[in-house]
Structure formats: structure tokens, C-alpha cells
């Protein structure tokens, strides 16, 4: 049931044609597979999104964290933080095909909508590395604030956003000139950035500040700071990390870390409408392609929770490797 999807753009086609043989050797991702990086297990786990069963676990580099997929579904990109590299993994065999020059301590990254280049946050080095994934060549290194982490590319591919955890800013970087064109101050320890599909809103979570700032990328103003309150859970443990917004822009899901809940937010009014109890230290989130399922990585309970999106119900928890960190679902 290998699904070959049409290539998203001429630029990506070009990228693949000039790409390395390794990429050709890779099969496309099977439809409906979730891939989870296990930070302490040094492995990735593949989950069939129909049966919700683990189909395969494979050893990867040390301290795997950020995990994304190429638009053509043929490659998984994985930050192997303690190996100081980004690994390119075949979604079918889960074999490491190539290692890319990520710069030191890569944690999170974002891919240009065309599939190239890759923008990598080097947390220990206060910079963003821009990497041509075909040539495995560093195109630029952009100095940003202290401890960059969250990375997002606008849907039109023109603007890259990097959040710096100690500087507490979202840096807006022009993807052609690699210049920082603006900085927006948010709350303490911004962890993750997510554009809405129309590019009109940017959600930035602040782990220690306990808030999610919604920024209008056109005016650079914070439209709203979303805060959370769960009865019986102390304010300090509510630490927003992963954020996902449905493609219709109507609903946002926010992982609240050690509060062990995912908040459901009306992405138009910014009202928090529900809190769903998931596993312990919920970190990152990923939708299934039809957006009917949401997968959450729960770092302290070593499992993945599956949320039924339309019914806002947690339907299953799936045991994975040690300290699951990131998750991506194929096809993208």
C-alpha cells in the first residue's frame, strides 16, 4: 500500500532529480504511518494509524528529537542531537540513509515547503543553520538569540521564524537574504512556532511563561496571549510546548507538558474550549492526514496518546520507546 503522491512543486521535482542516489533508493512513506522519535531510547517507532499498532522500532542516532518528513514522503529527517547531525531515514525500512551537516546540537527544524532547504536550530550555538539537503551543504548560518529552538516557515516559504528560549523572542528571518527582519518579544522560554495554513497567524508557545502568543505576521503585533487554567493543577506545571492548528484554521491543540493535558483552543476566538488528559509530560503533536486523529508524545510515560479530533476524546495510548519527543505522520 505504498502511496506515491504527486510532487508538490517544480522546485521540489528539480530537487529530487538532482538529488543523491540515496534519495532515489528510499521508498515513499506508507500512507497512515506515524513516526515517533524516542529521545532516551535512541530509536524511532513506526505506528500504523489505522490499527494503532506499532509496526517497527529502529535504532537511530543519539538523542533523537525533532522529526519531520519531506513533502514527497520519501525521507524522514531526524535531529540526532548528541550526534550533532540530522539523519535522513527511509520511511519504509527505517534505515538511516544519510547524515546531514546540521551544525552542533540540532533540536528542532523546519523544511521549506518545496522540500529544500532545511532550517535547523542549533540550540547550543545561538544560530540557525540553513542546509541544502540535496547537496548536504550549509547555505547560511544566521545568528539569533540565545538557545534557538522553535522553527516554522510561512506557507509561502518567504519567512522563517525561529524562537530563542533565553532571549524570549520570535525572530523573523527573510529566507532569501537570511537577514533578521523583525523580532517579537513573547513570554518566557518560547519553544515552538506554528503558522496557520493561510499564513495569517503565527502561534508561539512559551513553556515557562505558560502562554501561547498569537502573532499577526503582517503587523508583527501579538493579537492574543492564550493562557490556561486546569482545576487541581498548579500554574507552574502548565507548560505549553507543541502546537498544531487544523488546516481550516478553526481549532488549535496545545500540548501542556507536565500538566499532562492537551488544550483545545478555538483558533478564531482564542477561547480554550477543552482540556484532554493524555500521558505524562506531553511534548509534541501531529495530525493524521485527514486531521481526524492527533498523536501526542508523552515523554515521561513513554507512550503516545491518540486523540479523536472531531469528538475531542483520547481513544488510545500506545507504548513506544524511552522518552518519546517528536512525532510526524505520513503522508504530509
Amino acid at each position: 500500500m505504498t502511496a506515491f503522491r504527486p510532487l508538490p512543486s517544480p522546485r521540489a521535482l528539480c530537487a529530487v532529480l538532482t538529488g543523491s542516489l540515496a534519495l532515489f533508493a528510499a521508498g515513499a512513506a506508507e500512507a497512515g504511518m506515524a513516526y515517533v522519535s524516542n529521545e532516551r531510547g535512541n530509536s524511532i517507532t513506526a505506528i500504523d494509524t489505522d490499527t494503532l499498532a506499532v509496526t517497527k522500532t529502529a535504532k537511530v542516532g543519539r538523542r533523537p528529537r525533532g522529526i519531520i518528513m519531506s513533502p514527497d514522503g520519501k525521507a524522514i529527517y531526524l535531529c540526532a542531537s548528541d550526534d550533532h547531525s540530522v539523519q535522513v531515514i527511509d520511511p519504509v525500512s527505517l534505515k538511516v540513509l544519510r547524515k546531514l551537516k546540521s551544525g552542533p546540537d540540532p533540536e528542532l527544524f523546519a523544511l521549506h515547503p518545496s522540500g529544500n532547504p532545511l532550517y535547523i536550530a542549533n540550540e547550543d550555538d545561538n544560530q540557525v543553520t540553513v542546509l541544502d539537503v540535496e547537496k548536504n551543504k550549509v547555505i547560511a548560518q544566521v545568528p539569533v538569540g540565545t538557545e534557538p529552538e522553535g522553527m516554522a516557515v510561512s506557507p509561502d516559504g518567504k519567512i522563517l521564524v525561529a524562537t530563542s528560549e533565553t532571549t524570549n523572542m520570535a525572530h523573523f528571518i527573510d529566507t532569501e537574504s537570511f537577514k533578521i527582519v523583525a523580532n517579537v518579544l513573547v513570554d518566557a522560554r518560547p519553544r515552538f512556532a506554528e503558522f496557520t495554513r493561510d499564513g495569517k497567524k503565527l502561534f508561539v508557545s512559551a513553556e515557562v511563561g505558560g502562554s501561547v502568543s498569537v502573532i499577526d505576521p503582517a503587523t508583527l503585533q501579538i493579537i492574543k496571549k492564550i493562557t490556561f487554567k486546569i482545576p487541581g493543577i498548579s500554574k507552574e506545571t502548565i507548560q505549553p510546548v507543541g502546537v498544531r492548528v487544523t488546516s481550516d484554521g478553526k481549532t488549535a491543540f496545545v500540548a501542556l507538558g507536565p500538566a499532562n493535558h492537551v488544550a483545545v483552543v478555538n483558533a478564531e476566538t482564542f477561547e480554550v474550549v477543552d482540556y484532554l488528559l493524555v500521558g505524562q509530560r506531553v511534548w509534541q503533536l501531529a495530525f493524521s492526514p485527514d486531521e481526524k486523529q492527533l498523536f501526542t508524545t508523552n515523554g515521561n510515560s513513554n507512550d503516545v496518546s491518540v486523540i479523536d479530533v472531531p469528538n475531542r476524546k483520547v481513544v488510545k495510548s500506545i507504548k513506544v520507546g524511552g522518552a518519546p519527543w517528536g512525532v510526524v505522520v505520513a503522508p504530509q
Partner: protein, 424 residues
């Protein structure tokens, strides 16, 4: 050019006018951060003068500390010469990383007092030099003298060294923020850990110094607070055996003095580190040692690597070639608090910063897993404390299950209803 980028550039120009910093400062950031880029990689270029950033606000910070006496011939854990200073210097770098984007530039001006130097005169000189934000790493009496001397000129003081409970009680001052933990907090943290293990019976061994007695008092108070029992208390009368340099450090009377006491743990009160490390394994009965040595409570620890602190530890280690000590961390935190206050108040006015720091709006990320803030009733920084043995973190206080209506962090130290502090 995409519409989004066009809008961004327009907004950026507006933002520059409104005091937001762009383009050119990002380049300044390159230079400041000392990052050399390979020639083939793209670099940010100065933006055109029309979008030039406003003048940079200089924020000088004073650090007042005392010279560390040179260690004896061999001291495996000597206090480093740059204790506290290295932590503050690292935070200056962190602040300036934000400052390049906000148009603020922080500098550290350190005065290290030699023996006999007057701390008040030195503090006044620092303030006259423009340092109205003072980080002070001095004992309680000198801290108070400094705080009272600089108050009339509107300076504020960050205590990063003095643990005395009195500074947070009868002797509290409105111009002093306590970044160092109080002895009450340290004792509460350790006692919570013991209570969570149900190691309820304590054998207290108290050193001869005033700080040792104060620490012992704090332990007794904590024991009452959390339902533990001090079953025995003995003074240490055998001298600084942990530091003794001789060919025969074994003292028979020191080896037998723990005999016949039935307790779960032995708690040492030895702030100077004179004998606490002599006791483990030399007790008559097999006995765990906690307190100022053995298992300790502290704001920071070399083995701490959770919550992203590996990054901070690494930055510190690279810059200094040594591990970060609690005093370094406290000085780092104090300078970061100034940085955060300068960012959020968009200025350098100490009064505005103090108002912000003691307000409920203030919280800061400091690699402790939860935001830190300031208790408005005594201006003590509320923070988790690490329960650690020399090479590993064992637990983090507040322990699970110690609840408080405001925040579990307020189970450590003096709570509002019992506070004897009247700020003025």
C-alpha cells in the same frame, strides 16, 4: 516580493520607529556574540539608514564581592577567584543577546574588596559610577550596610550570597531582592525529601560557627514543620578534621562520638566545610549523612542537566573551564532578572524594575523546570532547590505531595502569614 514579506518590511520600518530594533542591531549582535561566519555563507548586511535603530540604552550593573583568600597548598574544592563574577558575566552575555534585538546593552562593573576594604565606600563609588543595579555577594551585616547606604540614591540590591533568615524577616529592606535562598528554604527542601522517604529521626551534629548554629536552628524548625524528630543533637568539638593536613587524621574520639544514637540520618551543620565531609563512613553505625555535606539542598549543582540546563552548564564550562557553583548561578540569575526587567519595563529605572520584579507579572525561566518569581512579602526569589549528592541530583524540592494554596514553591521558606518582614 511576496505580500507577506512586503508587509513585514513595512511593519519592520514602523517597528523601528516605535523603538523596536532590527537589521543593524542584528549585525551588532554578530559582532557582540563573536560569531565568525565562514566566508562562503551568507551574512546579514547592515540595513539602510532609513530603518536605522534608535540609540542603544546602556545598562551598567555593579557587582560587589570580596576577594577569596588564596587556598592552602592543595584544596580540591577551593572557592574559585571568580566565584559569582563568572556567573554574572555569563548572564551579561545572555542579556546582551536579547539586548541586540531590544536596543539595550548591559555591562558588568565588578569591585572585589580586599581584606579591610569598606563595602559601603565601594558601593557608593559603584553607584556614583552609574551602577544603580547592584549585585552583592557579601555577608548579612555588610549587605545591610550597603543596602542602607545606596537606598537614598534609588539603587536596588540583589543579595546573591547571604542566607540569613533575618534578612527576609525583621531586617528586610524594600530595596533588597534575595536571589540566594534562605537557610529556612534549604532546610525545608532537605527535610521535605527526608519526610518523603520517611527518614524521620534526625541526629544533628552542629559546628562551632554562627552559621552552623543558624543552620541547625533552621533544620529544627523544618523538622517541626514537616513532622520529623531531632532525636539527638551533639556539638562538633574535634576541629576542622576534613581540612586537617597531617599524616594521621584519624581521631579516635571523633570516630566514637556517634555511637549509641539510634537515628535514620545524621544531619551536619558545617557551612564552612570544616568537618562535614569527615563524617560519612566514619560513623559507628551505618548512617546516611545529609545537611551542609553529604546530601545537600542548593540552588544549583554541577550534576544538574534537566530542563535544558545542559546548555547553561556548557556555556559556563566553556567560558571558565570550571563547573558552575550555586553562587555563580545566583549571580547569573540576578543579572538575568535585571535583563528581564529591563526588557519588560523598556528602560533602566531601578524603581520601575523593582516594581515589576515584585509584581505578579514577573516570572523568569532559569533552568529549574518551572518559572521563578519573587515573594512580594519579603522579596525572596521562590525557586525549586536541588537535593543532590556530590556527583548526582537525587531529587528536586518541593517534593510531590507538599501542597500550598498559592504555589508548591511557597512550602519552602517563610510563608506570608508567618513572615516578620515589613517592607519599607
Amino acid at each position: 516580493m511576496s505580500s507577506l514579506r512586503a508587509q513585514l518590511l513595512a511593519a519592520t520600518t514602523a517597528a523601528a520607529r516605535a523603538g523596536m530594533t532590527v537589521g543593524r542591531l542584528a549585525v551588532a549582535g554578530l559582532a557582540l556574540a563573536g560569531i565568525a561566519l565562514p566566508a562562503q555563507t551568507a551574512q546579514a548586511q547592515p540595513s539602510n539608514p532609513a530603518t536605522a535603530a534608535p540609540a542603544v540604552l546602556e545598562v551598567p550593573i555593579g557587582l560587589l564581592t570580596r576577594e577569596v583568600p588564596p587556598p592552602p597548598l592543595y584544596d580540591l574544592a577551593a572557592v574559585p577567584e571568580d566565584d559569582a563574577v563568572a556567573g554574572a558575566a555569563l548572564a551579561i552575555k545572555d542579556n546582551n543577546s536579547t539586548g541586540t534585538f531590544t536596543g539595550q546593552h548591559f555591562t558588568l562593573n565588578t569591585t572585589s574588596l580586599a581584606e579591610g576594604d569598606d563595602p559601603v565606600a565601594a558601593a557608593k563609588a559603584l553607584v556614583q559610577g552609574g551602577n544603580r543595579l547592584l549585585i552583592v555577594n557579601l555577608p548579612a551585616d555588610e549587605l545591610l550596610a550597603v543596602a542602607d547606604a545606596v537606598k537614598p540614591v534609588g539603587a536596588i540590591v540583589f543579595n546573591v550570597g547571604a542566607l540569613d533568615d533575618g534578612l527576609r524577616a525583621e531586617q528586610c529592606r524594600a530595596d533588597v531582592f534575595h536571589v540566594a535562598p534562605s537557610r529556612a528554604m534549604l532546610a525545608d527542601a532537605l527535610t521535605q525529601f527526608l519526610a518523603s522517604k520517611r527518614w524521620n529521626r534526625l541526629f544533628l551534629v552542629v559546628g562551632p560557627n554562627a552559621g552552623d548554629k543558624a543552620y541547625a536552628e533552621a533544620v529544627k524548625r523544618s523538622a517541626r514543620k514537616f513532622g520529623l524528630k531531632v532525636v539527638a543533637e551533639k556539638p562538633w568539638t574535634f576541629g576542622p578534621l576534613a581540612r586537617e593536613r597531617s599524616d594521621s587524621i584519624t581521631k579516635s574520639d571523633a570516630l566514637v562520638f556517634t555511637r549509641g544514637v539510634d537515628a535514620d540520618v545524621l544531619v551536619v551543620a558545617d557551612e564552612a566545610g570544616d568537618f562535614g565531609n569527615y563524617i560519612p563512613y566514619r560513623t559507628a553505625e551505618p548512617r546516611l549523612v545529609v545537611g551542609t555535606q553529604g546530601l545537600t539542598a542548593s540552588t544549583w549543582h554541577q550534576a544538574q542537566d534537566a530542563w535544558g540546563s545542559a546548555q547553561l552548564q556548557n556555556r559556563f564550562l566553556r567560558g571558565t573551564n570550571r563547573t558552575m557553583r550555586p553562587t555563580d548561578y545566583q549571580a547569573w540569575l540576578a543579572v538575568r532578572m535585571v535583563g528581564e526587567a529591563a526588557t519588560r519595563t523598556k528602560g533602566d529605572d531601578p524603581a520601575a524594575m523593582a516594581a515589576y520584579l515584585r509584581s505578579p507579572d514577573f516570572s523568569i525561566a532559569a533552568f529549574k523546570g518551572v518559572p521563578l518569581s519573587v515573594r512580594p512579602w519579603d522579596q525572596q526569589v521562590r525557586q525549586p532547590l536541588l537535593i543532590a549528592q556530590p556527583m548526582g541530583v537525587v531529587s528536586v524540592a518541593p517534593e510531590d505531595g507538599f501542597l500550598h494554596q498559592r504555589t508548591p514553591l511557597d512550602t519552602l521558606g517563610f510563608d506570608e502569614p508567618e513572615s516578620k518582614c515589613h517592607l519599607n
